[in-house]
Amino acid sequence: MDTLTLILLDGIAFASWLFLVSAGLTFAYGVLRILNIAHGSLYAIGAYTGATLAGLVLHSGANPFLAYPVLVGAALLVGLALGPLLERGFLRRVYDQEEVITLLLTFAIFLILEDGMKLVWGVSPIIVAEPYALLGQLPLAGVTYPVYSFLLTGVAIVAGLALWVVIDRTRFGKLITSVIHDREISAALGVNVPRICTVAFTGAAMLAALGGAFTAPMVSVTPGISADVIVLAFAVTVIGGLGNISGGAIGALLVGLLRATAIQFFPALDLFVVYALMAVILLVRPEGLFGGVEVRRI
């Protein structure tokens, strides 16, 4: 019984985290058709910035609960600073190029940002655990569980809902949808496609940074965290269907529960199951669980 509860709680916590770190990737792919390897770097920068700013707040003697809005603020800051820069400066130049080019371009950005972080934050780990510890533990169905994990789930749900509202309920969202559907036709209809792309990518960058900022209190932030995140996010994105956000949420849940199960029963296979699931999904449904297929006319 306790095991089952643990699997569920762990699974949901991990899924929330996965959704947070992959939603932006999925969204950006949907709009820009670019699988952004540097998404992992944005995540890591979000983590560093979040940890630094939260640390400042905590040391200043202010109300420690201020740390949470500061984490959100850090994510918005990172997204606003880097999103437009990367999209306008680099991605824009390769939209109509082959995949290998777009992948390598974002890989190049990844490499550059990787060392950029070392220059700014050094190589020793940064630990700001107070936001995590502050919320304490909650006894629940026979186990005690950190409240912070529930906060993480809350953040993921809010982020997902916000994304949904923007895309489904606003005029801007309609424009995004039309760009996702067909970039050329949208441009011909007078949609300002470049602007949509910039805004969409900035949103994706904020999501990545948000994932990082809320991860920071749970881990020690060190160089190299970007690389691990990006493959996991790729896996979730592929499982849900490239560019499909609700698919991404279900993909995250699936991966989260599967990994939590593996950790309970075969801890050595915790990573294996994630990538095995990714491969299996690609094999049986390459368009992902919720993607569609295109047929070419001759």
């Binding site: 390769v94 890989f107 190049a108 990787e114 050595a268």
Partner: protein, 327 residues
């Protein structure tokens, strides 16, 4: 008639023989560390050649670390379980293992294109990575394995091991280049280009696209395994990172850095990459990745056909990403 043909063949081969000769005396002129760097660059060039062969069909393998690791760990396991130390046998083993892996995975991969091919290769390589990392009682986990220097045709190289590995790698590379060059000029080699340009036409000529891709993938996997095996010889240490995605990313990086209009481009790319990395690391240990990233950025934006296009601006077969038929 025949005599003329023979002398023409010889004349055609002469420049290559000259290059080979130059490379053969090189280690006597260079400091040891540079000889070692070249050895590793040559070995990795084999993996890059494998990626390049696939790129000619517009297939981006973002998981070639899989074969690199498979070749390397073949050496590790053969030493651990079979007490095998003979280089020729180990090379043979690595070729068989990576070939078998490619034969199996190719069955699935031959159906995929574009981003899906990339993602599936990535998933396969990460599966191997997670196994190498976590099954530590078999693989040594994060620590990897130490591989003792092999005997070469029964001879224990001893103090001259570095130079021996250089020559061994050079011979393997030369053979692989000759083979791949021949392959590219063969019907199957052209079929790969045809597949890149227009799959529908290939099927409408009565050829199987899937089979063409499958065979190309087989070659590419074997080249990857061979490279991994040779790196294990000269470096003497193997780790799960061989199959990690950043390693695969580096291979794609080097492929584009060198270009792939010629089989020699990957070699050039690989040597340049190792040199740059080495110097960048020596100059500034914290920002060597940044230098590499900046170079990659420049290549991608301004020289998408790689360094080789500077040497041979008009390649016989143009780069796939200048062709518009696939989008």
């Amino acid at each position: 008639m025949r005599g003329a043909q023979v002398s023409r063949t010889l004349a055609g081969a002469a420049p290559w023989l000259a290059v080979l000769l130059a490379l053969a005396i090189l280690p006597r002129l260079l400091p040891d560390w540079l000889g070692f760097l070249l050895t590793v660059a040559f070995a990795k060039a084999l993996v890059v050649l494998g990626v390049a062969v696939l790129l000619r069909s517009n297939l981006v393998s973002f998981g070639h670390g899989l074969y690199f690791a498979a070749g390397a760990y073949t050496v590790g396991f053969a030493a651990k379980w079979l007490h095998l130390r003979e280089a020729v046998l180990l090379i043979f083993g690595a070729v068989v293992v990576s070939g078998a892996l490619a034969a199996l995975l190719g069955l699935f991969l031959a159906r995929y294109r574009g981003i899906f091919f990339g993602m599936l290769t990535l998933a396969f390589s990460m599966i191997l990575y997670s196994l190498l990392l976590r099954l530590y009682w078999l693989t040594g986990g994060t620590d990897g394995m130490v591989t003792a220097p092999p005997t070469i045709l029964g001879v224990v190289p001893g103090a001259a091991a570095g130079r021996a590995h250089y020559y061994l790698t050079l011979v393997c590379l030369a053979l692989a280049l000759a083979l791949t060059r021949r392959w590219l000029g063969s019907p199957l080699g052209y079929l790969a280009s045809a597949i890149r340009d227009n799959e529908i036409r290939v099927e409408y000529m009565g050829a199987s696209v899937r089979q063409g891709i499958y065979r190309t993938y087989l070659l590419s996997g074997v080249l990857g395994g061979l490279g991994g095996c040779l790196v294990a010889f000269s470096v003497g240490h193997i780790a799960p990172e061989f199959s990690y995605w950043t390693q695969s990313g580096d291979f794609v990086f080097v492929t584009v850095l060198g270009g792939y209009a010629s089989v020699f481009a990957p070699v050039m790319g690989s040597v340049v990459f190792e040199l740059v990395r080495n110097y960048a690391y020596a100059l500034s240990p914290y920002t060597w990745q940044m230098s590499l990233g900046a170079i990659l950025l420049l290549i991608v934006l301004f020289l998408p056909r790689g360094l080789w296009s500077l040497l041979a601006p008009r390649a016989p077969v143009s780069s796939p990403w200048t062709s518009s038929s696939r989008r």
